[in-house]
């Protein structure tokens, strides 16, 4: 990728290589990696004979199930995300305007809430199978019904709520594709399908891959769904080893192994992309002439877009609403509003912080490209694939150590006790959120940044703007859409976040997700539904705003 470094305007290279931006990027990366490093360092600690036990019994299950889950979610999010994005962006059919933004809605659904509702309805003792038995007089073993609590079931649940990552990024990519390229493709005689497969899809590749990687990292880190479905994966294995065997070391070693797999995944993606460049060479944009679909084709397009929306959002939200209607009057009290305020506040703070850090990293990578900044950014986004509770442990241990070390030193030298400075504060929680969700904000910012051709930088610099002025006056305005996307994604994810919040929170601090979990784990799903639904509702507003903002951001649509 070309950039400032080779433009001849090498003002930046005046000083030594370790200048402010590089140091800042390294510092951020070191902080963000701290919890992950604490986890990875466990590899060097002996964990007794836990490994020979795991290897001899359940490890194969963990590996196989995790691989199936990853492969399934990758395929599902790719097919659903890309096809819907292309249809609503490039084709004209009834309902397109609504579907454009509605297809993002499943993002607001916590995966565990979707899993709870489907399991409740589709289980043997659920309403669907009970109705079938009552209607047809069937008994046990008289009929076949797909088992929802299974690996395919988990793939479906995760795929349904995670495809919007692929959809949003692919759609943003399709929208920003220069119309010239597509027109050339069509004047050369390509039909809609051919244009999609040969031009649209390859040009959108980085965005699509980023979307799938995000979905997969969340899949690997997921605990709620696989635990509820009793599917043994790495993630459930980590907790079983920690809680059941009482061996935190072996558990973090499992997590470290998982990290290795994620790292491999990222490396393969980088390798596959190779040296290809995806900047747009022209800035000529006009509204895209849509492929007009009629008759059966229009119906087909509608069905393809409505189905994921129905299964990923309307059905589970409808079920939650039906249950919430019975319990809401009892559940909604002062505590409910306090929890909601807590949720929104920490989610907003986490969003601002995660975007600021992502922006810092992206700027550093832009101004000082090279292996140092590349690796710093890669490594600092690993936290997303680690189960939240494991990241939380990685935060808790060094923070606790730091607090106690400072306290000891102060007691010895100054004679006062400083107590716990960081542990059990909102700061520790927010730090954990940033570590966990930096991958989301960074990818969104970076994908926006990569579309700004270096020619812009060169032109700005040639006209006398310094690097900071160029960033402020050229990049920042062009990035506004990406920054908004990043903030909304982190906001929604923080609203849904559970395990890290649970462990790290201060006294008397509850959120909607915590209450949902507490009620659900007490097997009071009807009461939990009001809280789960409110997570969806509070997360919905920014998601809808985001969708509208993306539609507006299309160059040529002013």
């Amino acid at each position: 990728m070309t950039s400032l470094a080779d433009t001849g305007l090498q003002v930046a290279k005046r000083r030594a290589r370790l200048d402010g931006w590089t140091v800042a990027a390294l510092l951020v990366a070191a902080l963000a990696m701290l919890p992950v490093a604490v986890v990875a360092a466990s590899i060097f600690v002996p964990s007794g004979d836990a490994w020979s036990h795991l290897a001899g019994t359940v490890l194969v299950d963990y590996v196989v199930n995790t691989l199936w889950l990853v492969a399934g979610v990758a395929a599902l999010t790719f097919i659903v995300g890309v096809s819907t994005a292309w249809l609503v962006t490039m084709c004209a059919f009834p309902g397109r305007r609504i579907l454009e933004w509605a297809l993002v809605l499943p993002l607001a659904m916590p995966a565990y809430a979707v899993a709870y509702t489907y399991a409740e309805v589709l289980d043997y003792s659920g309403s669907v199978q009970s109705w079938l038995r009552a209607t047809f007089g069937w008994g046990r073993g008289d009929y076949w019904f797909p088992e929802v609590r299974s690996v395919p079931g988990a793939v479906l649940m995760l795929g349904l709520v995670l495809y919007p990552y692929v959809y949003m990024l692919a759609r943003a990519a399709f929208l920003s594709q220069s119309v010239c390229l597509l027109e050339i493709s069509r004047t050369l005689g390509s039909g809609p399908w051919h244009t999609f497969l040969r031009v649209g899809l390859p040009m959108a590749r980085p965005a699509i891959v980023t979307g799938i990687v995000l979905a997969l990292m969340e899949t690997i880190g997921d605990y709620g769904v696989v635990q509820h479905f009793s599917v043994s994966t790495f993630s459930t294995g980590i907790f079983r080893t920690w809680y059941g065997l009482g061996n935190l070391t072996a558990a973090t070693q499992l997590a470290a192994l998982l990290l290795g797999v994620v790292f491999l995944l990222l490396a393969i993606e980088r390798l596959g992309r190779g040296g290809a460049v995806y900047h747009h060479t022209t800035t000529r944009y006009r509204p895209l002439p849509a492929f007009v679909l009629r008759g059966a084709r229009a119906w087909g397009a509608i069905a393809a877009c409505v189905l994921p929306l129905l299964l990923g959002f309307l059905v589970p939200a409808g079920l939650l609403a039906a249950w919430a209607a019975q319990t809401a009057p009892r559940v909604v009290d002062d505590g409910f509003w306090r929890d909601a305020l807590n949720s929104v506040t920490v989610a907003a703070l986490a969003a601002v912080l995660a975007v600021a850090v992502a922006l810092l990293l992206a700027f550093a990578a832009r101004l000082r490209p090279g292996p140092v900044t590349t690796w710093a950014t890669r490594l600092s986004t690993l936290g997303y694939a680690v189960p939240g509770a494991v990241v939380a442990v990685g935060v808790m241990i060094p923070f606790g150590w730091f607090d106690n070390a400072v306290d000891s030193w102060m007691r010895d030298h100054v004679g006062i006790s400083t107590g716990l400075l960081l542990s059990g504060t909102l700061a520790a929680m927010l730090f954990c959120y940033v570590v966990r969700f930096l991958a989301i904000s960074f990818n969104a910012v970076e994908s926006g940044m990569s579309k700004i051709t270096p020619n812009m930088d060169r032109a700005a610099r040639a006209l006398g703007a310094g690097p900071w002025a160029a960033l402020r006056r050229i990049h920042a305005p062009l990035l506004r859409g990406s920054l908004l996307t990043a903030a909304v994604l982190v906001f929604v994810d923080t609203m849904k976040e559970l395990p890290a919040t649970l462990i790290l929170r201060p006294f008397n601090f509850d959120t909607l997700a915590i209450r949902t979990y507490e009620l659900a784990s007490d097997e009071r799903l009807a009461d939990a539904s009001t809280y789960a639904l409110s997570i969806v509702l509070f997360g919905l507003l920014p998601v809808v705003l985001l969708s509208a903002a993306i539609a507006r951001s299309r160059p040529g649509h002013s």
Binding site: H53, Y243, G419
Partner: protein, 347 residues
């Protein structure tokens, strides 16, 4: 010129962290008249007792809840500066794990020793049980004659092949049940039992305790295993739960050397408790007749204190004849249980 952007970022970071640090002031510096509770029990189940304590003593109660193991890990990381005064948790294995990690300190309290039978507390006063729950059978009366039912061991008999609903072995309740079998009969017999149960399962282990009862009610299996309070909660729950509970009957099985397997919820005083005196007061209050009555009525647990009435709804499902095993003995077998479960393929 180039220094400016970084300084701006730094300025932002300082302001942001100052804002953040100002937030949790309430968590810091316990004033006299406070007690800080780390609870693995959910808020809804413990709040009524804590509110009653605050009302009776004027001591302010600060609470965080989290998972059983996570909360122990947090106390460990916070070490000597931990604000925790009292740890409340469920399952005797957790109480013992906290004890082994040095997180609980011995206390002498005549009040607690008088109220709580010795098999339900640690001998040096590091932890005390505050409520009891039994893990019992639920059967479909159309398919099962209660005369066929006896002990946990008998459930591994081949005549139950394909008829048993069991929860995952990740559930601590099943781990402690297996640990009690190891304590009674040894690890070899316990492993044979677990293998027999796996062979008898009607479906792979899934869901929570209530799902085992629903499994029996819907005809997926003929017999299921779940804790007592879940059944009573279902009887007092939604219409669907009431209907399911109405279709099954509870049966209190015996252990080889005694009655039904019981587990506990309980607590202890933190080693580094800043308000140790208040912490002890809280534990004594939780064992008092007043608080024990709340335990019984809110959570449908069996009171640990003799002389406090069992909730009528719980009494109605049968009389508990608890296993007399000293619970602290279970801890030694905890890690072994997971190994056995993994070996026999009990998911």
């Amino acid at each position: 010129m180039r220094g400016v952007p970084l300084r701006r970022f730094a300025g932002f970071a300082v302001v942001a962290s100052a804002l953040i640090a100002a937030g949790p002031a309430a968590a810091q510096g316990p004033a006299p008249g406070e007690v800080n509770v780390y609870s693995a029990r959910q808020e809804a189940l413990i709040k009524p007792q804590l509110d009653a304590f605050a009302k009776a003593t004027g001591i302010r109660v600060n609470l965080i809840t989290a998972g059983e193991d996570a909360i122990i890990e947090r106390m460990r990381a916070e070490a000597r500066n931990s604000p925790a005064d009292v740890l409340l948790t469920v399952d005797v294995a957790r109480l013992i794990r906290a004890t082994d990690a040095g997180l609980l300190k011995p206390i002498r309290s005549e009040e607690l020793e008088k109220a709580i039978p010795s098999q339900y507390r640690e001998k040096d006063g590091r932890w005390f049980a505050l409520g009891l729950r039994a893990r019992v059978f639920y059967y479909n009366p159309e398919k099962v004659n209660p005369a066929e039912l006896s002990t946990y061991e008998a459930l591994a008999d081949p005549k139950w092949r394909g008829r048993v609903c069991m929860r995952s072995s990740s559930a601590t309740y099943n781990q402690s049940l297996l640990a009690s079998l190891i304590a009674h009969k040894g690890a070899v017999a316990a492993e044979a039992w677990a293998r027999g149960i796996v062979a008898n399962m009607a479906r792979p282990p899934m869901g929570g305790d209530r799902d085992q009862i629903s499994g029996v009610a819907s005809g997926q299996c003929d017999i299921g295993v779940a804790n007592t309070y879940y059944f009573v909660q279902m009887q007092n729950g939604t219409d669907a739960e009431k209907a399911a509970a109405g279709k099954v009957k509870p049966f209190f099985p015996a252990q080889p050397g005694g009655g039904a397997h019981v587990n506990v919820s309980g607590g202890g005083v933190a080693t580094n408790a800043p308000n140790a005196a208040n912490a002890q007061k809280l534990l004594e209050f939780l064992a008092s007749p007043e608080a024990q009555k709340i335990y019984a009525e809110v959570v449908f647990e069996y009171p640990v204190r003799a002389g406090v009435a069992v909730a009528p709804q719980l009494q109605a499902i049968g009389t508990l004849n608890p296993d007399t095993l000293e619970l602290s003995l279970l801890a030694a077998h905890q890690a072994e249980t997971i190994r056995i479960f993994d070996r026999v393929g009990w998911k």
